[in-house]
Structure formats: structure tokens, C-alpha cells
Symmetry: C2
Subunit: 324 residues, 2 copies
């Protein structure tokens, strides 16, 4: 089977590509070709068991999606998006990339006519406060950002194009990814990863909120697992409710820090500096804290077991097993 | 204030225009100009208290929405849409009219820059079976038609454009309108009105489903009332949950017939012929039956009091008070 990853140069896209390249199969079938598309050139994973194509381009541009559909990929992972902060600052760019890009992809799939499995990376940003204690599978979507609105619209399109038989789509709402590798960034959610990643690398990290703040997390490895599981799910099991909240771990910042101490010791955890920032506190107060993702669990999606496991995954996958 | 009705030649649009023309005010302010836009020419209500402009055109066509926004209407009622059956049969036309048309209107309002109140006519088609007994305000949207998908997407856009300060929007989900005046049509929902309207006019009507079928109704007069109330609501009372399910009456077909007997007598009700149609039964089984629209009621939206009242409204407004 042929596999296409749109957003293949991004963090999850790269990890997904590496996993597919290594395993050589998806949903029990051999992968004959893997294509990575992004606005910047992706990298073919080392030692891939199949030919890897690297395609660079702008998804919403005319003809771009048709080009990607030309060799009729059997499974498409659509991870390309501009992030929440940028979509909020640049309204037109957000709608162009996050909404029109997806619609163009769906139209190209419709024209190609072979009904590929489409796994669309959605987000818990489709939900907006106030929330119940744990957000159930039938709670309504009231996004409070343009990014969340765009993801919600794409979920609706993916379902309608599936119902009409143009694609075989499924939207999966990813938790916040933690520990996010790389440099600290200015995303309001960055501290959830910063307070783990930086101390493990021997650096100080700033905690701008109180330890009682709870949030919904999944490791990059769990997120890749969701993608693979979604690609293999039988469409009949989903019916026409094709947007699923992924399982995750609801942990407080205090629990994150306790897990860091347990895994890496007090000396490492002492590198977290508490610098409360009312602005960040206010933003975070509007975010989902906890879900009851019954349906995804019944369908076999698997979250990380504990926040300690999330930290160990980061140490294994990003630090070669070592701690600074 | 200037008022624009898009879809001004449709059934609700005409009734809304007549009411505004007669009252001369909206939200406590005098109406200086009323504009009716539609794909077919609307009719200026007789004896209107203000100048009435008739504009004919295709809303999603380039420049059309800008033309409508040029004189900066203070309140826009957006009722234009192709109906459920047509949107299901003609996928491209449905998205063009029902989604791109609304997006173009929102973009034109953004360019105009005066933040008009926008009342968007949405639909209970944003919901899809299976349902709880009564659908609450926080139940999720899983439309099972392209029409419902398009309405849902427009609700999301109206909220996001409002949050960004481009319009001051509110989406109201109308119940099935009953008694719908005019000729019997082929809509699967047509029988709900046919079994009342036709017997009252001395004609036979076919009932294709069992008397136990329950559905959610509002009279055309109640629907116009929702529009006027929505136009006058303070945006602050809505927050960013700007899509509201309107109140209605949950009645069974048996209760509809009992009300008809009470209002018009057994002879009239005897004009209903029972011809069960499994195809229609199946379609109707997927429709919402009953809501618990707590929020709309708290915000002051008012449903009809009884199905007998719905029938009397039809007799008053459409039959000049008489029964055949």
C-alpha cells in the first residue's frame, strides 16, 4: 500500500514516518511507497524499508492536492496546520491553510475516486470553556479560537465527505503533546513540556502557573500510536460519528513535577523556577483539563500509562536514555 | 436603522419582511430602509412604513455580498439556503450556496467594518441520530446530511467572526416549520404540514408514517418571532456560545390529528389517508424528536403554546380565518 503524510516534516509527521519506515507495514499490509509532503522539505528516515518520496509545496495552492493524489495513496495522514497562536494572529492564513487546505485535499480525493483512508489530526481545541469535570464523547464543540474553529469545520467536512463515499475518513483529537522535543517556544502551552525537557537537559525552566493546573497529555509515541491505530480501524465500527477524542492522561503540574523527581531526582526537578504569570494563568484556565474518551478506548486507542512513562519515553526517544 | 433580509423571497423571509414593514421598528429602533435580497425578485410588502429595496442576485457570486454591505445594514437576517434534499442531491451546489455564500457574506461584513448584527437561520439538521429523549443545549452536533453539515459549519464561522469582532452574530436553529403554506412538496418532512393544510383546504392528504412519530415544530409566526428576538438580544448575554436551539413543540402525528379534529372537526380530519411508506418511516426515524432548549427559553425566545394554536395561526394568517 501507498502511504502519504501531509505535514511530514513536522514533529509528529517525522516520528510517524520513522515508525512506518522501520516497520514497513501499516494495518497489516506492506508499504510499497511512503511520501512525505510539507511546506519545507522533509527527511527520508534512515534505513527505510520502502522508497520514500519527499514533496515540498503549499497544500491549498491550486493543483497541489491533485498532485499528491495522482498516485492514489491508500492511506493519507493529514497533519499539516499552522498552530493555534499563528491562526489567531493571522486570520486569513489560518483559514487558508487549516480550512481551505483540508477542503482542497478532500476535493482532490473525491476527484481521484479511490476512497482512501484519511486520518485527520484534529485537536481538543474544538472544545471551549466552561467544561464539565470530565468532557464526555457527546459534549458539544464550542471552540474559542480560530484554530479550534478550523479544526472543527474540517472534522465536519471529513465526516460528510466520508458519508458521501468520497473518502474513508476519521478525525482524531490529539491531547497536548508532552514532552515536546526541541527548543522552548512561545506557545502558551509550552511550559507543560519545558518544565520536563529543560531540567532533563541540565537547563532551568520557568513555570508560569500554579501546581494545581490540570491538563490532558499524550507522549509523541502515543500520538503516533493513535495515527497507526486510526489508519487500521474498520470504518463500519465508526458509523458517521467520525471525530474521536483521543485518550490521554489528566495530570496536574504538581503531578508532573512529582513524576520528574521520581524519574530523575530532586536535583533535576529543582531546575524549575516558579514565576507566576497572570496572563498565562488566564489563557490556561480556558483549556480542557480532562476527558472521558470512552469511545476511543472501546475502539482500542491506547494512552500512556503514567506521567512517569511519558518522561521515560522522552529520555529514551530524545536523550538516548541519558539525563543531564 | 437599515435592515437586510437575504432570502427575502422565501417563505419566512416574506413573513419577516411583512412584519417589519408593518411594525416599522426593530429592537426598539425605527427602520429607515428594508432591503430584500434573493435569487428571485422579492415583493415589497404592501403599505410598508419605510422604503423597501428589492435586490436580485446570487449570494456566493463575486462582489454580490459586498454590494449588499455597501449601505452598511445594521441588522442582517441571513435565511438564504438550498434545502436539505437538494443539498444532498447536488453536493457542489449545496456547499456553494449554503457554505461559501455565508462565508462570503461574513467576509463582506468584515470588509465593511461596522460590525452588523447578523441573525443566521440554522437548523436542527445539525443534530444526527441516535439521540437522547430530549436533546439538551450541550448535546453534540453530528449532522447526517450535507445540509446539516453546511449549517453547522456556518454556525462555527458566525461565532468565530463574532469573536474576532467582524460581525455581531447569532445562529438560531429553527424547528420544522408547521403549518408550511403553499402546495404539497416532495420533501420527506412535507407530510407534517400536508396533513393539516390540505384537509383545511378541503383536500385529501397522505400520511406516510405511524401516528406515534414525534417531531419538533414551530409555526411560521413563531419563527418570525425568533428572528425579531434574536435581532434585539444583547450579545453579552450570549458569550461565545452563539448557536441556539430554538424552542418548539414536540408533538406526535396522533396529537397533530387530535388538534385538527378539535379545531376543525372530524369531517376535516377524515381527509387524512393513511398510506404507510417504509422509506419515509426510515428517513424520519433519524430526525430529532424533542429538545430541552433551556438556554433559548431563558433568553426569552417563545414557542407556540399548543398545536391547536399552530393550526389557528395557519387559519388566521393563510386562510383569512375560514375553513373549507
Amino acid at each position: 500500500m501507498k502511504v502519504l503524510i501531509i505535514g511530514g516534516a513536522g514533529m509528529i509527521g517525522r516520528k510517524l514516518a520513522e515508525r512506518l519506515a522501520k516497520e514497513g507495514t501499516l494495518a497489516g499490509k506492506g508499504i510499497s511507497k511512503l511520501t512525505l509532503h510539507d511546506v519545507v522539505p522533509g527527511a527520508a528516515p534512515a534505513g527505510a524499508k520502502m522508497p520514500v518520496g519527499i514533496v515540498t509545496g503549499d497544500l491549498p495552492a491550486a493543483g497541489e492536492a491533485d498532485k499528491l493524489l495522482a498516485d492514489r495513496p491508500d492511506v493519507i495522514f493529514h497533519l499539516a496546520a499552522i498552530v493555534s497562536g499563528e491562526a489567531e494572529q493571522d486570520f486569513d492564513k489560518g483559514y487558508r491553510i487549516n480550512m481551505d487546505g483540508t477542503r482542497g485535499l478532500l476535493e482532490a480525493a473525491r476527484r481521484a475516486g479511490h476512497k482512501p483512508r484519511l486520518v485527520f489530526a484534529s485537536s481538543i481545541a474544538v472544545f471551549g470553556a466552561p467544561f464539565p469535570d470530565a468532557i464526555g464523547d457527546e459534549f458539544f464543540n464550542t471552540p474559542l479560537t480560530s484554530y479550534g474553529t478550523q479544526k472543527n469545520i474540517c472534522e465536519l467536512l471529513v465526516t460528510d465527505y466520508s458519508r458521501k463515499g468520497f473518502v474513508d475518513g476519521i478525525s482524531i483529537r490529539l491531547p497536548t503533546i508532552c514532552v515536546r522535543p526541541g527548543k522552548p517556544n512561545k506557545a502558551a502551552s509550552g511550559f507543560f513540556s519545558n518544565i520536563i525537557r529543560e531540567p532533563l537537559a541540565g537547563q532551568d525552566a520557568v513555570l508560569p502557573v500554579s501546581e494545581s493546573v490540570m491538563h490532558w497529555h499524550a507522549s509523541p509515541r502515543a500520538a503516533v500510536g493513535f495515527m497507526l491505530h486510526a489508519a487500521a480501524l474498520e470504518g463500519e465500527r465508526l458509523g458517521w460519528r467520525r471525530a474521536l477524542t483521543m485518550p490521554g492522561l489528566a495530570v496536574t503540574v504538581g503531578e508532573q513535577i512529582a513524576a520528574l523527581k521520581k524519574v530523575a531526582g530532586d536535583k533535576v526537578a529543582a531546575r524549575i523556577r516558579r514565576e507566576p504569570d497572570p496572563f498565562t494563568e488566564t489563557i490556561v484556565a480556558g483549556w480542557p483539563r480532562k476527558f472521558a474518551p470512552k469511545r476511543a478506548l472501546e475502539l482500542g486507542f491506547k494512552a500512556d500509562q503514567s506521567f512517569e512513562e511519558i518522561i521515560r519515553i522522552h529520555i529514551e526517544d530524545e536523550l538516548g536514555g541519558g539525563i543531564a
